[in-house]
Symmetry: C2
Subunit: 125 residues, 2 copies
């Protein structure tokens, strides 16, 4: 009952994830989120509640996948840089993730991801 959803949560969250990874959390504006998702502000807030909740859903969606993809690393690094000191929930999420993944050269993986992302390696990779 009620109006049918025009947008599917999963698709919307995927698009949000790409934006967050591209711009970072703070620099990704609501206008940007409107643009990439196709939803309007009211719908976004009605569906997700706040920008931080959008990010958390995007982060959790990434972590469902057990392998440490670049997408996951992207969201983890943004969490560490911009959100771990603002949200206890996010801090706990990445704490749990680190517990599960430490001892697997994860520090090295994080560093390598950043160098690749910044495109400073010289060999174009």
């Amino acid at each position: 009952m009620g109006r049918n959803k025009k947008y599917q949560q999963v698709d919307v969250i995927e698009k949000m994830t790409d934006l967050f990874i591209q711009k970072g959390y703070t620099a990704a504006s609501l206008d940007d989120l409107v643009k990439v998702t196709g939803m309007l502000r009211g719908s976004l807030y009605s569906a997700f509640g706040s920008k931080q909740k959008m990010f958390i859903l995007a982060l959790q969606n990434c972590l469902k996948n057990s392998q440490t993809s670049d997408k996951t690393l992207g969201m983890i690094v943004i969490s560490m840089m911009e959100l771990s000191n603002k949200s206890e929930q996010i801090k706990q999420i990445i704490k749990d993730w680190y517990k599960k993944n430490k001892g697997q050269f994860i520090e090295n993986l994080i560093g390598s991801y950043l160098i690749k992302k910044a495109k400073i390696s010289g060999d174009g990779i």
Copy 2:
């Protein structure tokens, strides 16, 4: 000739650096910079020109120091996350830095810094 400087560039840049590392580039506002430096907006712009130029001076000041301190890593990581795709100059600076430091477990150092900064290691370090 002319009015004496009330604030010394070196001190101001040090304070800016601490702010950028604490908040990140985007999240560090001009109001924040006014607060930590003691200078007013007009003085800051008269002395530095723009927020990005303030950041570049802070970054270059860190890199003068040949050792890779946490302060340096902080500025480097912010550059990679928030600025390497916005400023060719900054990209070049961190490209040069990486050239000088690669092969010294620098990826590991970067990852370890982030984990320490986010305080997710479990052992409180």
